[in-house]
Symmetry: C2
Subunit: 230 residues, 2 copies
DNA sequence: CGTGGCGTTGACCGGGATCAAGTAGAGTGG
DNA sequence: CCACTCTACTTGATCCCGGTCAACGCCACG
């Protein structure tokens, strides 16, 4: 995290939009806010762990590298979502990277304070626990998909996930601006393949494009591609 | 879980061999022990969630199906390890299956009691939290590997993982009896491919076989296959 | 003795990665 | 306003890893 601008616009909801309002006061006193630009790296695999982050505003991708020029995007964190918490109890080194894909404001809480809060506050720990259990279920599904589901299904799954997480614009387009490269990394496939697959999906009438924006034209058929009855 | 034998041999360590001894008394009072046979299904994807399990003894595979005849083994739980905890906060349906791969004794704690314990006991919740953070890191690494690492590397990684988790016999063989099919499912590849890859590794002098038992003959070279410098 | 499960091996082939090359837009400087 | 560069998008050609299918050997077991 280099040359970030410190801002202090106070509020915003953490961890999960609705469930943790009661703990914000404790955390508020100990957090710092940073403004991040699009594409800005927040932390990188191999960096020493300093704290835990929350997205106040904007979108952050959590990703993991392979070799020099391959990555897998594990998830996107948007407004109200924690990230960097996987570092808890680890070896003090981030095992993943976090990069802003849309400009925004992120909050930072140092790891010691965060751990202390968790140890003292069973309800808070419990909520985080549930969140992590849910992340684990998502991870396991994604692992299974990467192992067995063809690319077409994975792209469909990625689009559905994005729609669910970010919603749609009034015009019906998935409400996130994502480079094709990022969509590919999120699907676990190459740029070119994802491109071709999206074209297929358009020709089959499941998707509609407008510039870079993607709209799901036939949700049910798209969903069917993610099922395992092949 | 059908026609299991209830036994009561009392002790054994949970969650993590060394860290949770102090909480055992509370859980002991509310757990039941079951004897499981090799190959016995403990619960299945789609089953309603009733509780959380611990392995007292034996080995359990946690796996997820794809279609009729494909699966991915997510992890193995051995002595002292919790499983089924991902169901916490979910929709009340197991998203994965658990099957004994070696006969043993498992403990069962019903979900309500387990949740109540977590909510009341911050330290306990914290320990479980750390465990889940570690599982998340492992999952993410595995996802990345499934997306980008060739099968040979994944098999190498699987063997190293097994060695670390189960140790070696005095003769230097990985101390778990695993069908080739399970090894394949754990590596995220097919039976035949894994077979060929293991042959390669033997010819290259990295592995030695004795019946079904596998011994790692050159750990460093094996490890090198799991690195991303390709 | 059959029979069924697992191990073993070869032949085939297709999905998707890789490579290469062309196009279009967005900023930049003259 | 135009040339120039750079990055992202688009598309075709090729290749190969690894999945699929099929066949056979082997041993355990009813």
């Amino acid at each position: 995290m280099k040359k970030v601008t410190i801002v202090d616009n106070g509020d915003g909801c953490f961890l999960c939009k609705n469930c943790l309002k009661e703990w914000i006061p404790a955390i508020l006193a100990h957090k710092k806010n940073y403004k991040v630009k699009k594409g800005e790296v927040i932390f990188r695999e191999g960096d020493p762990v300093k704290g835990v982050f929350f997205v106040n505003n904007g979108v952050v991708k959590v990703h993991k590298r392979w070799g020099a020029d391959k990555e897998l995007i594990l998830r996107f964190a948007n407004e109200g979502t924690i990230f960097g918490h996987r570092a808890l109890g680890g070896d003090g080194i981030y095992s993943i990277s976090a990069t802003a894909v849309q400009a925004g404001i992120i909050s930072y809480v140092d790891i010691d304070f965060f751990e202390a809060t968790l140890k003292v506050n069973a309800d808070f720990a419990y909520k985080l626990l549930l969140f992590m259990a849910s992340e684990l279920r998502i991870s396991e599904r994604k692992m299974r998909n990467l192992a067995h589901m063809p690319v077409k299904g994975r792209v469909a799954d990625a689009l559905i996930t994005l729609k669910n997480q970010f919603g749609e614009t009034p015009a019906g387009f998935i409400n996130i601006e994502l480079s094709r490269q990022d969509l590919a990394s999120f699907s676990g496939a190459t740029y070119e393949t994802v491109f071709r697959v999206i074209n297929e999906l358009i020709h089959e009438g499941l998707l509609v494009l407008s510039g870079k924006s993607i709209s799901i034209a036939n949700y049910n058929k798209l969903l069917k591609l993610t099922e395992d009855i092949a």
